[in-house]
């Protein structure tokens, strides 16, 4: 069924929500394979099923029917606890609204996934969390609370949290939705660096300029994939960042 190069393989995936008397088909027979090392941007209008698709791939939600293999594992055969372990070990999540714990320091937020991994001791936990924060450029903000960080910095804390367990894949649901252009491009820079190190990235976005940073784009409409194309003129965040008007720099620098 799966070849060794396929990280994600879904076949005839459907999701039906029952709303009273009628049914809403969020996904209709989606079939897709994502190889290791991909950087996929999932596009589509609101209600096209792209978020549902992401949630199912992220093992947060169950499909109504279909098959789903993640890294060769038949995900739909796993129980709740095994899914939690799978999320903990193989998937890193990034959300539009950051979803980091309030009144909790950056370091403690990043330590969170490791606390749910019983094999890691306290010393290693702190080391790995600090290292993850350093890799997203927040080495000097370890003990800052979310309220003391800018939106871009909060999202970078979320990225560090997603990275800390060395996941195979990062799933980002509109990671730049709440950020200005400069902060968004910085996040894309981090994504491109991570992708360069071999981490697979799956990102939902509805901003075409953000999708251009990915390697390939998938377009959803009415619960189906209507196109799956390689990005022709891929942008590199390293090159795009200096081109932004300098006033943006000052705003985010505050």
């Amino acid at each position: 069924m799966t070849t060794t190069n396929n990280l994600i393989s879904v076949k005839n995936l459907s999701k039906v929500y029952e709303m009273g008397d009628f049914e809403v088909h969020a996904l209709r027979d989606v079939t897709l394979e994502i190889q290791k090392g991909s950087f996929v941007a999932v596009m589509g209008p609101s209600g096209s099923g792209k978020s549902t698709f992401m949630n199912i791939l992220g093992c947060l939600d169950n499909p109504t029917s279909g098959e789903y293999y993640l890294d060769g594992i038949d995900v739909l055969k796993l129980d709740k606890n095994e899914l939690a372990t799978l999320r903990n070990n193989k998937i890193g999540f990034i959300f539009q609204s950051f979803n980091i714990l309030p009144r909790t320091s950056a370091l403690e937020n990043v330590e969170l996934p490791l606390l749910y991994n019983g094999k890691i001791n306290a010393k290693e936990r702190t080391e790995r969390a600090s290292e993850a924060l350093r890799s997203v450029g927040l080495a000097d903000r370890l003990h800052y609370l979310p309220s003391q960080l800018s939106g871009g910095q909060q999202q970078r804390v979320a990225i560090a949290r997603a990275l800390v367990n060395n996941p195979l894949i990062i799933m980002a649901d509109e990671p730049t939705g709440n950020l200005d252009t400069h902060a968004s491009y910085e996040i894309m820079d981090i994504f491109q660096q991570l992708n360069g190190k071999g981490i697979t990235i799956l990102m939902v976005t509805h901003e075409p300029d953000i999708a251009d940073f990915a390697l390939s784009n998938i377009l959803f409409r009415d619960g189906q994939i209507i196109s799956n194309e390689t990005v022709q003129n891929r942008k590199l965040a390293k090159e795009e960042l200096p081109k932004l008007p300098s006033i943006k720099m000052e705003v985010t620098a505050k």
């Binding site: 606890n81 939690a84 999320r87 999540f93 980091i100 009144r103 909790t104 991994n117 367990n165």
Partner: protein
């Protein structure tokens, strides 16, 4: 999943809500503290009653004048004097179960010594009165039977009287006092006895020979009561029966007539007050338990609110790999911690309150290990019991629903 990590997760979460944790704890603190102090007060008065019973002598028999029937009109117990010195003397010779018998007369009087004066109770009795009531002479002597025969103007006085008339630490033996203008020589000082169960100062007393008090200070032949001691505790019931028999004969009561006296043992009275204090303790403890229960419901309330408030947080935790079990344990640990620490603080607080009651209220308190254990165990159970439901609710959340919760 290591328990240590879960404890760390729970403690981090608690630290972020110090005010909420404290307010939740307050319910448990008050509950445990009131259980402990109520039980301490109850136990204290029970032990106090027991102690005063044994200090009075467990084999004491008291005979009080009882109700009389005058032409069909029944008077209440103690309303009429029916007992005489002769009754006491008859009992002393005829009742084989009694070892010592003394008639008792009392009169409260103003006592003067030098420039000081004091109002106290003057008791007249035989010299056996002292031993029946388990009183002891600290210095000087007890009056003799010769003093009794001659109605000698001598007396022994209690510590309170001595302190008030002669000052602290002065030996009053040999001094003169005037009771109702009659000069008495103090020949003995009683040992300190302290308060009895009802808060009455047992040292505020003057004891003089029976005949002295009756002839020189009172008129009439009736006595207030008759005090006796039985041969042993086991003979108590026999003694009471025999006393009743002899007195009925002595008072010439017919078959249909009611007793015009009441015979009580010290134990009877102690039992009555013992059961009153027991009922009181149960009452206090149940009120205190209710506050502990309310404290527990407070925990459940806060934990339930916090589950709703923290739904998104639970979603985040599940997304990064928390199992349902982990969330369940986190919430359980939080509520058990609150009740546990609340219980500990409550114990300290309860001990403090008990000590304050003892010091400023003058009420005897005894904190028993069992009451501490009981309230602590109860608070821990409350924490587990009332923490379970909110924790289950949190653990049962679906990760995606929790994450989407606004």
């Amino acid at each position: 999943m290591k328990l240590l990590n879960l404890i760390k997760i729970a403690s981090r979460s608690l630290r972020k809500n110090k005010m909420r944790v404290f307010l939740t704890m307050l319910g448990i603190i008050i509950g445990v503290a009131s259980v402990i102090s109520m039980l301490a007060i109850g136990e204290g008065s029970r032990q106090n009653i027991e102690a005063s019973v044994s200090s009075l002598g467990t084999n004491t028999v008291m005979i009080y004048p009882g109700s009389v029937n005058q032409g069909g009109v029944r008077m209440g117990a103690g309303s009429y004097s029916t007992l005489t010195q002769k009754d006491a003397d008859v009992l002393a010779t005829r009742c084989e179960y009694l070892t010592e018998v003394s008639p008792v007369v009392m009169r409260s009087s103003q006592v003067i010594a030098g420039s000081q004066n004091w109002h106290t109770m003057v008791v007249g009795g035989y010299n056996s009165y002292i031993s029946i009531r388990s009183l002891k002479i600290e210095s000087g002597n007890l009056f003799s039977s010769g003093d009794q025969r001659n109605a000698a103007k001598v007396c022994v006085i209690g510590q309170t009287v001595s302190t008030n008339l002669f000052g602290e630490g002065t030996d009053p033996v040999g001094q003169f006092i005037r009771i109702n203008s009659i000069p008495f020589r103090v020949i003995g000082l009683l040992e300190k006895k302290g308060q009895n169960t009802f808060g009455q100062d047992q040292d505020d007393i003057i004891i003089a020979p029976f005949s002295t008090v009756q002839k020189r200070m009172l008129s009439g032949m009736y006595v207030n009561n008759i005090l006796a001691s039985s041969r042993s505790e086991g003979d108590m019931e026999n003694a009471k029966e025999q006393v009743t028999e002899i007195l009925r004969l002595q008072h010439k009561l017919g078959q249909e007539d009611e007793d015009d006296f009441t015979v009580r043992s010290q134990a009877d009275i102690a039992n009555v007050f013992g059961s009153i204090s027991k009922v009181l303790t149960i009452l206090l403890a149940s009120i205190a338990s209710i506050s502990l229960l309310v404290g527990g419901i407070g925990i459940m309330n806060i934990m339930l609110v916090s589950v709703t408030e923290r739904t998104r947080e639970i979603g985040i935790r599940m997304a990064v790999g928390a199992k349902s079990r982990d969330v369940l344990f986190q919430f359980m640990i939080e509520s058990v911690f609150i009740s546990f620490i609340g219980g500990l603080i409550g114990i300290l607080f309860g001990i403090l309150v008990s000590q304050l009651v003892a010091r400023f209220g003058g009420w005897p308190v005894v904190i028993t290990a069992s009451s501490v254990l009981l309230s602590f165990a109860f608070s821990a159970i409350v924490g587990i019991f009332f923490g379970w439901y909110p924790a289950r609710k949190a653990a049962g959340l679906n990760p995606i629903d929790a994450l989407r919760y606004e």
